[in-house]
Symmetry: D3
Subunit: 270 residues, 6 copies
């Protein structure tokens, strides 16, 4: 199984953290391709930054989707992980590929929900919280959210947040358990990738790492081979006039639309 893991922000040191944890987490047979967004911001904290990031992630997905459409032997990748908490561009990006596209937030929410009833999210900045809350609400699990707690100090460098604020993150996690009733803690954000492994013994409930959840859940979903979207809201966007898109996006749309048309006879007739 081959997974494409995309860092939606432009920081190479965050990509390195993502890649390291993704490799530690992946099952034996899983091959990983890790990519960094070509444009955007250092790290994503706001709804608008997420919108910018979504465009950059779309370009990378399109590059692979277009290639898959042109390939003789089926897709070169089996699934895609969007590796920023907050899931920029999701679920819209699921329309752009014929393989599962999974955000690390939705993966982490599922991983948490399967291990307890209420969960808390520990975040790297106060500004990031409204966007994360949107994300939980849009996924539909806000009824199980115990709290979102966050670092409220300025970050000196995004690549060293987990080292610089380890004690703060540990304290926030324990408060989530003791005061907010969290059964599970999610350490949110790609900059925290790998920290869960380190802190687990010191937090008295299961601790979920977004990257680890993203990779494992993508493996699980790809493994189920549930089939493609040939109808409904996640099938290929309808064929129609378009203009001004990048070459990759244009080719990717053509590819998914062609795949949908080829499969047309399977559409329901009743």
């Amino acid at each position: 199984m081959k997974l494409l893991v995309i860092n939606p922000n432009i920081s190479d040191d965050v990509t390195a953290l993502i890649e390291a944890e993704a490799r530690r987490s992946a099952a034996p047979g899983t091959e990983l391709v890790v990519r960094t967004a070509g444009s955007g911001v250092e790290y994503i904290e706001t709804r608008f930054e997420a919108l910018i990031a979504a465009g950059a992630v779309a370009e990378i997905i399109a590059e692979y989707s277009a290639a898959d459409g042109a390939a003789a032997n089926g897709p070169a990748i089996d699934g895609i992980v969007v590796a920023a908490f907050g899931d920029p561009g999701m679920p819209a990006l699921k329309e752009l590929a014929d393989v599962p596209v999974i955000g690390i937030t939705e993966a982490a929410l599922c991983a948490a929900a399967l291990q307890g009833h209420r969960f808390s999210i520990i975040a790297i900045s106060d500004r990031i919280r409204p966007w994360y809350l949107d994300c939980v609400e849009r996924f539909g699990l806000s009824g199980r959210l115990a709290s979102i707690r966050s670092i409220n100090e300025a970050l000196s460098a995004i690549g060293s947040v987990q080292q610089d604020f380890k004690e703060t993150l540990l304290a926030l996690s324990r408060q989530a358990v003791a005061e907010d009733g969290a059964d599970v803690v999610i350490l949110a954000g790609a900059p925290l990738a790998g920290l869960a492994r380190e802190l687990r013994g010191q937090i008295p409930v299961p601790v979920v790492d977004g990257i680890s959840a993203g990779v494992r859940m993508a493996e699980a979903v790809v493994g189920m081979q549930s089939g493609s979207h040939r109808a409904g809201a996640f099938s290929a966007p309808p064929v129609k006039g378009r203009r001004g898109l990048s070459e990759n996006l244009d080719a990717a749309l053509t590819a998914v639309q062609a795949a949908a048309l080829a499969a047309a006879p399977a559409a329901p007739s009743n």
Copy 2:
């Protein structure tokens, strides 16, 4: 990785369907132990039948949990799958073991939610629907439920439901897509184990099999090694007077309580 898969009803032919699909679905390194409830009903359709089943599942979990507590080398099993749609006894049963315990409904809901926005559940009897709806509501994802559709004819034999009603199930699935707006269809109930593989080409959206989801999601969660519950609502029940429980339940409670006490220093101090 070794998973214990429990059929909460007493039908051996359903256990055979479960086992076959679980083996087809499992990743290469996964070992499976499949067990049938020692008491209960032929198949579970009502809240009360689910309550009875929960007790029977508890006995089997307790048997392994107690053995794990007594074992020198850690748990003999790494995770547990409760293999009846409706998740009898969940989430309570998560308190009884020190490894992840995952129901096939919660696994299927996550698998569906990661592949689309709205999903429908196709069920084997009208009577079963209120219990399934409870289950979706309690998991917290009812905002994403498109519909529950069901066979409204009497079943002749539980082991052959998927053969006897294949056309009906296919029609219900297609209606869910065309009329209810389902992006994903869940074929619900262990008696339908394996049918998704057969019908996928004929339903124009991803089709989720509960058993397959249960096994794959359990593998994913076990693989994340998120840590144990040493505080909060899923830690071991507090030590207190008890009476009249089976030997296994009694020993299992003793075992999880001992494990929690051994880990006490890790409890939050703030």
Copy 3:
């Protein structure tokens, strides 16, 4: 009118508290039969303990239900009160008897909701809160819950909680009114049975006692003579193969199924 009141935990001193308050609360013509669970734990604080208790309550209900089925002159009891806050086994247990089965939580929630808009629950332990919250959510009234507050000290003896922590419980109740906006306070848990009478003058809003609510609401519902479930989710579980149940459960299922079949002509024909 004859009501069966079941204590789902094994503590005889709690049964005594229940019985005393039930007798103080009951209307003149009401006869009470009070029973203690044959197996289980000293007092119920967790979802798993509630599951165990549900099984024990089912056995007692079954004993009466089976007897009623065999009786020539109709049921020997007119209604059943499940007397532990958190309503173990509900609403499933409503399927097992042909008379109203009412939990003290659902009764207390209704009693509170009829006297004010928002209510708080005062509980005897922190651990018990997630289960109580589940219970309010499942009953569907969580939109009216102001707060759940609880004693966060260890209990020395369950029979004397209300004496040992009277001042704490009073302070928690007043905080619920002053800080959480409670219009009504529910003193939750059978171990607090009768305390509401004592504290009423000292809490500036109506105070609801679970046992009192359970008995009074059961009288009200029994008095309405609304009729039986002959269709829908609370009618008798369908006739099917079963195995390994206790004699009483087996007989009770047979009895409710027989009653349903006897009434079959009343089923809707349109």
Copy 4:
């Protein structure tokens, strides 16, 4: 126990139906005083008609509340039932009396919720449905509403609706069970008072009569003696300038404010 039962519309024949069913339903020791609104409409179908009715009900409550305030021996009535489905003026009217004030809708919703999980409401006109839906949503139980079904023909006379449309009402009730999944049916509206007794054998789930529920639930709540509102949203409105109210309303406000002040020492001090 003495209950004041108020018909919020001006139809004497509806008052007669209410009184007859209230007397059939009341427990042996309950004394009933039945009153008809002094102004308003023939029967209430819209939010505005309910607003008009609320004013008329307030006048009658005020008459008794003012008298109670002047009485040497405590209240002449122990509880009040507002006997129109839709509960005009509730919950505001609870502020105006020092005894429980209970609407027949909230009583019926509780009676239904204690007997099953999902309930349907059968109503006498299409126009009435949005107001009833508001009422269920405001009480907080809309998550358990299966459906509201209604007669969509013109009524010839409000006093004979239950006779004129008996077959329609029976058919709507059965459809609610068979098609909407209702576990309980509520026959809504005072004009249907008493019909539930007649139809019970022909509808395969419990059938709740609003008047019967109102009287029985009021008896239950009064019997619990939960105490008065001396703080919070249902205590007496604060003393302040007012103008142009009826003599009764003015006196009633003075009476409840005086009672609150007399009880002031019981207010929370923390």
Copy 5:
């Protein structure tokens, strides 16, 4: 465009504040008629006081509605603003006029929701909060409410609240932003009319004035000329027997009923 602005409480100094801010806010071509309730209380803090106020507002609307019905040249007013936060009598009062009737709370909620995602309400007394919360819930936007904060000291005079408590209101507003996550602050209640203009520079998010929102939103809605209610829940109440209403109410009902009948041919025929 001519708007009728109604102060639902009896305080002339509050009416003066309302009128001043309404005139400052109105667009050039808007003419305003400002009226004070003929009966009621000094300022509205409770659900019951709001019920009383609703009746008084209905009388004023009826006066204009009846006049419009009698007029040869269409309505003398084009829209109505109910100028008390909490929107007494809404949405029922929308049935009573053939022009838009808009409450300042619903207007302020829309104005806030269009400028940010989460909003807080700053209120003049603790007692007022449950009623305001009801109002937000009934409008359906409680998912976007960050908090309701309030002055918890006694008010010396309603006309000078905004001067007497300016610093407190400023502090509450800033806390709503910093601690509750408010993107927008609503200064609630007619007694605060005009204060938003003064405080804007000192609060770091948009600040909404209820009166200003009421006038501007009424202008917007009137300007859209969306058409009348000739069917559905806000069309004129059905013609039926009524008794004891004021002359104005009686005439207004007759007028809206006549307008509805005149328009009957436009009713849907399918």
Copy 6:
């Protein structure tokens, strides 16, 4: 007042429809600048198409926002209307300008909610419905949505949809009133701009046009002068490293960040 109205799709004939209705709707003193997206699709039906459109709208807003930042005399525009139903890029785009940015969906939802309780949306294609439903849910008003009905035939040309399907749209609107309980109907989508004016007499409830609502609501919000976002989730994105953005986006971010810093002293200090 000067409003920038942006058509997020690339169809000039839709821009013409938007401009015509915007001019008909605007208040006398309102000046309009109408722009068409520089890239994207012919009309927007899916979440992915909306994502693409959001990027194109951001570029246009940025062009004006950057210019405003450079201008000596304050913003050249006073408000922005995003003129596609579904509000592509909202609410994220509110971060990118220092003036109100309003989507026509949120404007139409407010306009509908102020005129009735429940509303229906009439849409131009089945595929568009899930995205519209997302939009209503995200705005927080899904509790008031009666239904979304849509044309289920292929469109021949987007510029003539309202002519080609006038009878269908009229029938769908009437069904929404008669069958779904809509109090207000929203004709959704810029391609339907202006149709509401034509159909109003034939639909028995108020009919809301998205463009008209967008312009009128933007005028109302701009007119309230509520102040800017200097803190919270809609203030300028924090200053940080960024790369690969268009010149306009880069300049616009610099401009809003500079405006926020200039206003810093107004931030809350408590």
